[in-house]
């Protein structure tokens, strides 16, 4: 066993060019995998933060008493999805409009009678946020007697939803593609090594070596190549992240991107598994 390990290590060093090449290729593939995960992760991250900014404006009927308003507020607050409800009175709405008009605020100066409605600003619980749930909540609120109108970013919500779904699909597609690519690359590398040592293996057989004895060094080699590929993948992913974050430092959107370190830590293990897998494929059945 020690001897077979030694054989494998010697072989890896002897064939350092091809092994390096393969590992780097795998590293590259894993980099693309990282980029995919990185992108999908960040998009999920960004859209996970959306609920914090997402609010539903519930415009109330103009003729409600304060008691009715308090009752309505606690009713809305009781909904499972709702995190907090902020009451905005007519007066507050008017002063907000004023400040929004800024320089042109004098246009409001002549107005005595406040024409605006009171409203609830409803915030949604982040952890329960989903497009479907929000829409069913709105359907329920719409039917309440105290509700005049409801305003929310429907198009925006739909966009986020479909964008997320599309990115997930692209992510899965790329991931599968890369897994196959890596297996193929390791498969062909081991195949090359195998063909290259055909004469040597022939001699092994004639000296009475069993299939296991012949296979072992290749399996070790395939595993090591995959593992090294994983390490390269981490290195390249960090480099990529560094470039993105460094060069994109003062670019909004990119500045606050996140790097899921824990995903990339498993790359060598992924490489190792794919390496063994590709090797088993490449060796096939050994005939005597």
């Amino acid at each position: 066993m020690m001897y077979l390990l030694g054989l494998a290590i010697k072989s890896i060093l002897r064939e350092k060019w091809i092994n390096l090449l393969t590992s780097i290729t795998i590293g590259f593939s894993l980099l693309i995998l990282s980029m995919t995960i990185f992108t999908v992760y960040n998009i999920e991250g960004v859209s996970d933060k959306l609920p914090e900014k997402f609010t539903i404006m519930v415009y109330l009927k103009d003729d409600l008493s304060s008691d009715e308003i308090i009752k309505a507020q606690s009713q809305v607050e009781g909904k499972e999805l709702v995190k907090e409800v902020l009451y905005i009175s007519k007066e507050k709405a008017f002063s907000e409009l004023k400040s929004n008009l800024k320089g042109s605020a004098f246009v409001l100066e002549g107005i005595e009678d406040n024409p605006l409605s009171p409203s609830f600003e409803v915030k949604i619980k982040k952890e329960l946020f989903s497009v479907e749930k929000v829409e069913s909540l709105i359907d329920i609120l719409q039917d309440e007697p105290y509700v005049e109108d409801i305003d929310y970013g429907r198009g925006f919500l739909d966009f986020v939803h479909s964008f997320r779904t599309a990115m997930r699909a692209v992510g899965i597609f790329f991931t599968l593609l890369i897994v196959f690519a890596i297996i193929f690359v390791i498969y062909s590398t081991v195949k090359i090594l195998f063909y290259r040592r055909k004469d040597e293996i022939e001699t092994y057989k004639l000296l009475g070596a069993t299939a296991g004895f012949i296979r072992a060094p290749f399996l070790i080699e395939g595993g090591v190549i995959g593992f090294l590929g994983g390490l390269f993948g981490i290195a390249e992913s960090y480099a990529f992240y560094y470039v993105i974050v460094r060069l994109g430092h003062n670019i909004p959107l990119i500045g606050f991107m996140d790097f899921p370190v824990q995903f990339f830590a498993v790359l060598p293990v992924v490489g190792l598994m794919l390496g063994l897998f590709g090797t088993i494929f490449a060796l096939g059945r050994i005939r005597f």
Binding site: E202, L206, L207, G208, A211, F288
Partner: protein
């Protein structure tokens, strides 16, 4: 020990070996001779199952090579030492490792390997080259390494294919002495050679091949 019954081996509608019937008993030393291309190497290949016969059967120590399970072939081969005509030394391993490989494959312990390999090297007079690589050896030296590898595990059967083709008469004689010594200890030996000096006046069986056919048997 080895029984050839009606053996033929055909390559591309050309018979390398044809209708061979031959019985080699346990502990015998038999020479196979014949011109270049007569089928000597093919006959030996059939014994260590590098080729399978197209007709007939070969039975070695009770096992029929044609019906042997593929998984058992390595274990049959472990009882057969072969001196290959083209040496088949691994050029990326030292002389020591080339010989040790035959034992490592058999799962022998490293300590024992060391002893046995150095004994074998002493026999063929190459102890001083144990750390050299095959390509830095002369033709005759390589041939002797091959011989050392074939005998290092004291096989039940020894097949030697042109074992002295690259050796001067002095070295050839000492190799023959080794073979006879091993033979005396009970190993069955087949030697394929075109060198008549090897068997002249030995009193041993000499099988003659011509274009794949067994055309006669004499005593050397």
């Amino acid at each position: 020990m080895i029984t050839f019954s009606n053996i033929s081996k055909i390559y591309e509608n050309h018979a390398a070996v044809k209708d061979i019937n031959l019985q080699i008993n346990k502990g015998e030393l038999v020479f196979v001779t014949g011109a270049s291309g007569a089928g000597k190497t093919t006959l030996l290949k059939l014994v260590y199952v590098a080729e399978k016969p197209d007709t007939g059967s070969i039975v070695i120590a009770g096992y029929n090579t044609s019906t042997l399970k593929e998984k058992s072939i390595p274990f049959l081969r472990r009882n057969i030492g072969v001196v290959f005509q083209d040496f088949k030394l691994l050029s990326n391993k030292t002389v020591y490792d080339n010989i040790a490989l035959a034992l490592r494959i058999r799962g022998v312990q490293e300590g024992e390997i060391k002893n046995r390999v150095s004994n074998a090297l002493k026999l063929v007079n190459l102890r001083h080259r144990s750390e050299s690589y095959p390509l830095t050896l002369s033709g005759g030296e390589q041939q002797r390494v091959t011989i050392a590898r074939a005998i290092v595990d004291e096989p039940t059967v020894l097949l030697a294919d042109e074992p002295t083709g690259n050796l001067d008469s002095g070295n050839a004689r000492s190799i023959m002495d080794i073979f006879r010594e091993i033979n005396a200890k009970g190993t069955t030996i087949m030697i394929a050679t075109h060198n008549h000096d090897l068997f002249r006046n030995t009193g041993l069986r000499v099988v003659q091949l011509e274009e794949g056919r067994l055309i006669g048997e004499t005593v050397g």
